[in-house]
């Protein structure tokens, strides 16, 4: 019984990833040129990605509503949710850096992985650099916190 439930969870987790990736392809997010034309408001503006987000949020809302009401998964396991309230300088600074990199390349993490799967070597270069950026951050985090964000 236990073994079966884990297997069903694994299959659905994979399907969720697949659905997520196909959603990015269908919506045009996996094409950085689209994303750049969305972020460049004063160019030849392409508003379609605003609708992608506006469409994805209400559907996710229903999923989260179900899960938080029940406070468990379909299988009765606990759900893991990050905090909602903590707004700190780190959140702001991270957002500024991420937004800049996003506009320069047209890639955010999900679509970059989709494009790697489609075989674009440039997407692979971006993704490797992104993973390095993550590792550098996580390695430096204790120092960063001490020097920048935690004021005694």
């Amino acid at each position: 019984m236990f073994y079966k439930h884990v297997r069903v969870q694994n299959i659905f987790t994979f399907i969720a990833g697949l659905t997520f990736g196909i959603g990015l392809i269908v919506s045009g997010m996996s094409n950085p040129d689209n994303v750049i034309r969305f972020l460049d408001l004063s160019g030849n503006w392409n508003p379609s990605l605003a609708f992608v987000m506006a469409g994805a949020i209400p559907i996710s809302f229903l999923g989260f509503l179900w899960a938080t009401k029940k406070n468990a998964t379909l299988f009765g396991d606990p759900i893991h949710l990050p905090g909602k309230a903590h707004i700190n300088p780190r959140l702001i600074a991270g957002g500024i850096l991420f937004g800049a990199g996003w506009a320069i390349s047209g890639f955010c993490p999900g679509p970059a992985i989709v494009a790697v799967g489609a075989g674009y070597s440039k997407a692979l270069i971006f993704t490797v650099a992104m993973l390095v950026g993550m590792l550098v951050h996580d390695h430096l985090l204790p120092t960063l916190d001490r020097k920048l964000f935690v004021k005694q």
């Binding site: 987790t13 969720a16 392809i25 992608v52 996710s60 379909l74 957002g95 320069i104 799967g117 997407a123």
Partner: protein, 127 residues
Amino acid sequence: MIGMAASILIIVKGRVAGISGILGSMMQLKNTPVDHFMWRALFVSGILLSSVVYGLFFPLPESIINSSYITLVGAGLLVGFGTRMGSGCTSGHAVCGIARLSLRSLVATLIFMGSGFLTAYLLFHVL
């Protein structure tokens, strides 16, 4: 479909579909239980294979990547570093976070979208 995927993951696995968090956590191999790595690897494999699966049924839309290699390295470092520092990217903050009515995620989304709009403006109209 993005919303459906996020809903499946929270309902079945009890996890938030935040790609930067998933990738960042996957790389922290020390003291990580197998299951914590497994679901993330499965989810990422799904995303990686999505182009292949989509391509079996429909013509795959082209990804037009005009940036040079060196630009992509710089942007990748910014995105990797920034998403970890800000605890999330488009999927975790803008889609899942706002769907959970999280003020923190709404603020993060406004910041990175604002930064994106400003950077695009500076890059394409000032420089």
